[in-house]
Symmetry: C2
């Protein structure tokens, strides 16, 4: 351990990174409660126990904070997607359906969902946010599509799009129809998914022999 200065600076930037994380944590909570534009910087500063001036030593401006939160959230989604891809290609389809079902049933994560709509609304008027959104969506599509392709699902791109549509609709439904029993949806959704994810067999569309 000869890089003493390095270790010090690492420890330093580690501390900085920790502080940054705590700020983003607090901001996420505040934004979830009151929205991007309903939350003041002073509220966020208070929420993580620092002063406004101090917060601005870590955060360039509110906009950057919003983007950071959106990015972090999408990174989580990408990670979840990667966890899906570890199985054997043969089992993947079953695993996929299982995960989808699980995802529907356990989508109770309350304030994570809030930011979805906040983000979508923001993306409509903030081109930078729109770009982030579309960029991450593209990356998620590629990964998911690869899984389908490796599993021999025909027209994987379109299937990806349709499944993403369903998943995009689920949180909407959770808001618009919160009493709906998720289990019942799953029951009817599973055969639909199975039909969509059906690997190429004898009779099939132009896409596959």
């Amino acid at each position: 351990m000869t890089q003493d200065t390095d270790r010090v600076s690492t420890k330093m930037s580690q501390k900085r990174a920790d502080r940054w994380d705590r700020i983003v944590d607090a901001a996420e909570l505040c934004f979830a409660k009151s929205g991007f534009h309903g939350t003041g910087i002073s509220t966020i500063a208070k929420a993580c126990g620092i002063s406004v001036g101090h917060l601005y030593h870590y955060v360039e401006n509110k906009e950057a904070l919003i983007e950071a939160i959106i990015r972090r959230e999408f990174e989580r989604h990408l990670q979840r997607l990667d966890e899906l891809a570890v199985g054997e290609p043969v089992d993947i389809l079953n695993e996929l359906v299982e995960k989808v079902v699980d995802s529907i049933l356990n989508e109770t994560d309350p304030f994570r969902t809030v930011l979805i709509f906040e983000t979508l609304a923001e993306a409509q008027r903030n081109p930078k946010v729109a770009e982030i959104l579309q960029d991450y969506d593209a990356r998620m599509r590629v990964r998911f599509c690869d899984i389908l392709r490796r599993s021999g699902v025909p027209s994987p791109e379109v299937k990806t799009e349709i499944i993403f549509t369903i998943f995009g609709g689920l949180p909407v439904r959770a808001l618009r129809h919160p009493e709906q029993k998720r289990g019942i949806i799953v029951e009817t959704m599973v055969p639909v998914l199975r039909q969509l994810l059906q690997p190429a067999s004898g009779m099939s569309q132009p896409d596959c022999a």
Copy 2:
């Protein structure tokens, strides 16, 4: 026509209603451009060419304006749904699929979509908005479900929920993946819809043969 006073007062309230409509029109446009919380009252007043003080003679407060816009938008949705229900029960399914396809292809209404997410985001922190949202959703569900029931679709409630999920997801996709050709989606979506809307026939296990 003996109720002269009535006619006068009607003409009066007619004028008031017109003014009100123009205010809501302007507000809708502004909110679509900058969001509920990104738009100031003065902006709305300017957009419909009246003063702030005057606007407050028609509008109780900003909140009421937001609610009015949301309500008006949902009324439009309800109306569109009713237009769907006029056909013969037998043809309804085909007509339904056709309308759905048409809806996907022509969902270019730009600023109407904006308010969807604005509304959903708002509903998460404003209980009154959430109630409106859920109330209108329930009414739309009932109507749509009735159509399915009259057409002999099994498990119409669940089918309604699933189709609403897909429809809820479409605008999400339009934002997250705007380059996606809608036509391709439709091609693959139609068989999915047909399977979902399949009327009860001989072999009809709970879900699949």
